[in-house]
Symmetry: C2
Subunit: 317 residues, 2 copies
Amino acid sequence: MIGEFDLIKKLIPLLPINEATRIGAGDDCSVLELGIPDRQLIFKTDAVVENVHFTREASWERIGSKAISRCLSDMAAMAGNPISALITLGIPQDFLEEDVLKIYEGLIRRAKTFGVSISGGETVKVEKSVFLSVSMVGWIRKNRLCLRSHVQPGDALFVTGELGGSILGKHLDFVPRVKEAQWLAEHFDIHAMIDLSDGLSGDLRRLIEASGIGVHLLKESIPVSKEAKLLAKERGTHPLNHALNDGEDFELLFAIAPNKSVSVLDAWKETFPGLRLSCIGKAVKEPGVRILSRKNMFLSENANEGILGDNGYDHFK
Amino acid sequence: MIGEFDLIKKLIPLLPINEATRIGAGDDCSVLELGIPDRQLIFKTDAVVENVHFTREASWERIGSKAISRCLSDMAAMAGNPISALITLGIPQDFLEEDVLKIYEGLIRRAKTFGVSISGGETVKVEKSVFLSVSMVGWIRKNRLCLRSHVQPGDALFVTGELGGSILGKHLDFVPRVKEAQWLAEHFDIHAMIDLSDGLSGDLRRLIEASGIGVHLLKESIPVSKEAKLLAKERGTHPLNHALNDGEDFELLFAIAPNKSVSVLDAWKETFPGLRLSCIGKAVKEPGVRILSRKNMFLSENANEGILGDNGYDHFK
């Protein structure tokens, strides 16, 4: 079995780059310099596979919507403006045309909501499991690059929405935080941003590795969703574990200078009254993730051994 | 069973477009206006699937090379300058890491040859057949758009290389005609261009439908490859049928004003002495494809009933 993180580490140094490639593999999107005044191109692809990312219990419309929303969420993580998508659909021989049209209904509805064109694609035959891959281009402002690698020690860490239990439905119906991310980048100096696709613990690890910092999380500040609580009750687990480790929240995690914490919270509440924004902790110089309770009680020294459990959702483990 | 052409016809009118989208679904690449001075972005995705586009008899390096070359060929069809690629690889649970690295060897070698960066990608788990999808962005000059839809009646039709029998090896090892296409667009007013992926007959039909014209082909001018002859001998078929109907030649088919025929042939011979260029016929007002012999003998009135047999390679038939 192949570990996804290990494979990426082996592959990245081998990949060819050229002078147009500003950010290659390893961030939410690649960033290309193509001579657009004041702007750079962002480029992303994301695939969902039957029985890995979805089952046929969900409607094909929701599966289509999920596939394009995942790509939109990656564009959001860069405060990007999504422009156009291409669709690759793999279907078995006996797949019904009406189901292809339903998948496209989901894709099209979501694309329209975000002003994105679907400028092409292809349908290919596969032997068994359906797959749906979305490629997307968009643009960002040159002076407002939100990478994973620019967290500063002392930065406040914020997360949008509520975390955990997305398997109960949110993983299909989440709304990518495109306009929220654009608003953040327009009004504040966002040091770093990432979308939560593999669970807070896994994506925090990516942020930490890319920025060479550590993190102190405040246990009581982590926004635990009611779905995380429901799942914990059903399974006899701890709701916080779901908020930390469940995949596919597709919320934003970002870092900002600590003296901007109050103003970002105030302005956020006025602009997005229906969506929670939580300061969940701060970046520190010492590596690793520590979870502190409100009384500064030390709970776990090492994310890998403590309450974080594992490193988030890894497709190959 | 779903017919690919029929499905595309149903889907295209439903797809959302926006003001950036100059050419959407239906040409070799989509064309986007993103404010690059004198240039437009081209955007393409292409997937190969195990037991459809390749089998494990081929080495993984060749399969990787094929996947990225197909995308490069689509960029060539627009006289495009490929810039960057993203890779989506779907592999079953028991797939070996060393084979992933071999696929990337093939991808990387070809990307380097054409100066293309691989700026990211992902590896996802699938239940059975391996798939490999490549997304690519590039650029074209605004005043040198080579679409499928601009063939004029009277235009001379040219094809590069030799056709048919690619299943014997060329479908894995073909060299995408990127530099040839760029040279053509730079030195001549190319009215229309397409790369031959689904067989001359199938791709001619696309050109004809997009441009609203017909075609007279000169039977003796169609460049039949030695592989087409070999295959015909083995199977008791006619070599011309292979040249007309076999898929995956990945040569260029283009249209040019008839008074430029001699000069394009002369300049081509000097620039690309190792690669054949053939004038295979001309565009006419009357719809359909007619195949004439050198004595102007009428062989077939309708491509669907005559020597063309079928409409090229359709993945779902």
